[in-house]
């Protein structure tokens, strides 16, 4: 039977074509063309300053990642040293974005497996971070705080007190999630052994971010190719050897803990000085490769500037694009009921209107299901096995 699913939910538009044999999945194909807008061509026709605003909206969840990566690439071509204070502020905004993204992911994962308490709690705790982002930059999602040479807004002493206080509260609230991942039996049953991708497989498929770190591979751009002031800040790279959905969940929860520590360090050690450096010259001819550790993994920008100071080529390779092959591999041999959580475990950066088509290899009938129907089917399937939350 073929199942088509019109997904409406909290994820991006993507289409999956899944071949099944009974209940087990044989193969999966995906269609990610729903979200293609033509940004790489668009920035070739805009000035550099206007491009920042377009690049910020490649993805709303990692907007800070995209602009910081772009700005530091241009600053590298111009050989500009950004003031230390601005770099610390960029790190703080980047880490706040990481916490916000991981908590949203936790909430959505909870929703996918029918654990509504986790869903509501994660979204609620996330509001602490959203308020801090708004206090510092003026906006909850797309900050518009980066500019060439530094940042636009400063952190005042009053803001520092508020940030330290709220980070302390958040640190206490995170204990619920660390306890959950260590103790909660039903969560372990739901996640252990699901979407298994061995260390060798991940290496072979060149995945990045928590997807790779959840399978024991210690890669993190903040340590491998340090940028901003990450070489000065003490923090750990979280790695899990479980290689399944549980491992990836573990990595993301403990990364929130590390991000809280990084923000605390940055606020306490925020150097005095200016928040930006002015430069009058036009951007020179050149090319640069800029890497950044976005919440989902390594973000890659290739920027080439022509002799008219316009962008000649701007190539973006998002972390999710590198990780799709690992989802296609991880889903093989799994049950249809595991599709939502395995796809969710790589934290795909997509907006949602996903469509899943399941093709039964025996009966060529096509059945279309929406993500919601698939989610509910998945929750029901596991409830019948005794894994459920009140």
């Amino acid at each position: 039977m073929v199942v088509g699913i019109h997904l409406t939910g909290l994820k991006e538009p993507v289409s999956f074509k899944v071949k099944v044999d009974g209940e087990k999945i044989v193969s999966m194909d995906l269609d990610i063309s729903y979200n293609h807008r033509g940004i790489e061509k668009g920035v070739e026709q805009k000035t550099l300053n206007k491009s920042i605003h377009l690049i910020e909206r490649i993805c709303g969840i990692c907007s800070q990642s995209h602009t910081t990566n772009f700005c530091k690439g241009i600053e590298e071509i111009m050989k500009i040293t950004v003031p230390k204070r601005a770099q610390f502020i960029r790190v703080i905004m980047g880490e706040l974005e990481r916490i916000s993204s991981h908590l949203l992911w936790l909430g959505l994962t909870g929703y996918e497996i029918g654990f509504n308490k986790l869903f509501m709690r994660a979204l609620s705790d996330r509001e602490i971070v959203q308020d801090l982002r708004e206090i510092i930059s003026g906006a909850r999602v797309t900050h518009a705080i980066n500019k060439f040479g530094g940042v636009r807004r400063d952190i005042t002493d009053e803001m520092k007190k508020k940030i330290l206080n709220d980070i302390k509260i958040l640190g206490k609230k995170i204990e619920y999630y660390t306890d959950l991942i260590e103790i909660e039996k039903n969560l372990k049953k739901r996640m252990k052994g699901i979407g298994y991708l061995s260390r060798e497989k991940i290496k072979h498929l060149n995945s990045v971010g928590p997807t790779a770190r959840g399978s024991g591979i210690k890669i993190d751009v903040r340590k491998d190719d340090p940028y901003l002031v990450y070489d000065e800040i003490p923090f750990k790279v979280i790695v899990s050897n479980k290689c399944d959905v549980y491992g990836r969940t573990y990595v993301r929860i403990y990364e929130i803990v590390e991000s809280v520590k990084i923000i605390k360090y940055c606020i306490e050690n925020l150097p005095k000085g200016s928040i930006s450096i002015n430069f009058e010259e036009k951007v020179k001819l050149g090319e640069v490769i800029s890497l950044y550790e976005a919440p989902r993994g390594e973000l890659f920008h290739y920027i080439k500037i022509n002799d008219k100071s316009m962008i000649d080529r701007f190539h973006v390779r998002t972390p999710t694009f590198s990780n799709w092959t690992s989802v296609i591999e991880a889903i093989k041999g799994m049950d249809v009921a595991d599709i939502p959580i395995v796809i969710e475990s790589i934290d795909p950066c997509l907006s949602c209107t996903a469509r899943t088509t399941i093709v039964d290899t025996e009966d060529k009938h096509l059945k279309t299901m929406t993500w919601e129907e698939l989610s509910k089917y998945s929750v029901r399937w596991y409830k019948e096995k005794g894994i459920w939350w009140d």
Partner: protein
């Protein structure tokens, strides 16, 4: 940015020069952790194979740019020795084709599909070179990221 002594990068450059001397046209150390190799199309697979097995590389991305006279393809690899090694090749504009590297790096499957979709480069031997970015109704032969492509308002591009 760290002002390292580039000792690590120079070691990598020396090793590559020694092992691949005749396969490489030029090798450039731009800054710490950024090495660029320029080579001919015929030598690409041998170089990528070497980089994967002897330099412990994983594939980051495949970038294509349109330089009006030709296409430039850059294969970005990150080495386990902590440096980016980017291999550049040039392809003629009238017949841009090259062997696929999906047998060496499976992740290149999606990267090559993207370059094919937006620039029209043919990847010979690719298992499934179909559309990935543009919708199914997008007309054949229209490659939006080429510099000379202009949208024809009278045509239907889908939707």
């Amino acid at each position: 940015m760290n002002n390292s002594t580039l000792k690590n990068e120079r070691k990598i450059v020396d090793k590559i020069k020694k092992d691949l001397d005749d396969l490489i046209n030029q090798i450039e150390l731009k800054r710490s952790k950024r090495i660029f190799l320029i080579t001919k199309r015929e030598n690409l697979k041998k170089i990528l194979d070497y980089l994967k097995n002897k330099m412990n590389c994983r594939m980051n991305a495949i970038t294509c740019s349109d330089n009006l006279n030709e296409f430039e393809l850059i294969y970005h690899l990150w080495s386990g020795m902590k440096s980016m090694i980017s291999t550049k090749i040039k392809l003629p504009r009238d017949k841009p084709e090259i062997e696929s590297v999906t047998d060496i790096f499976p992740v290149a499957n999606l990267f090559e599909r993207e370059v094919h979709d937006l620039f029209g480069v043919e990847f010979l031997g690719h298992p499934d070179l179909k559309r990935i970015m543009l919708n199914e109704d997008w007309p054949e032969g229209e490659y939006p990221l080429r510099k000379d492509w202009i949208k024809n308002e009278k045509k239907n591009y889908g939707g």
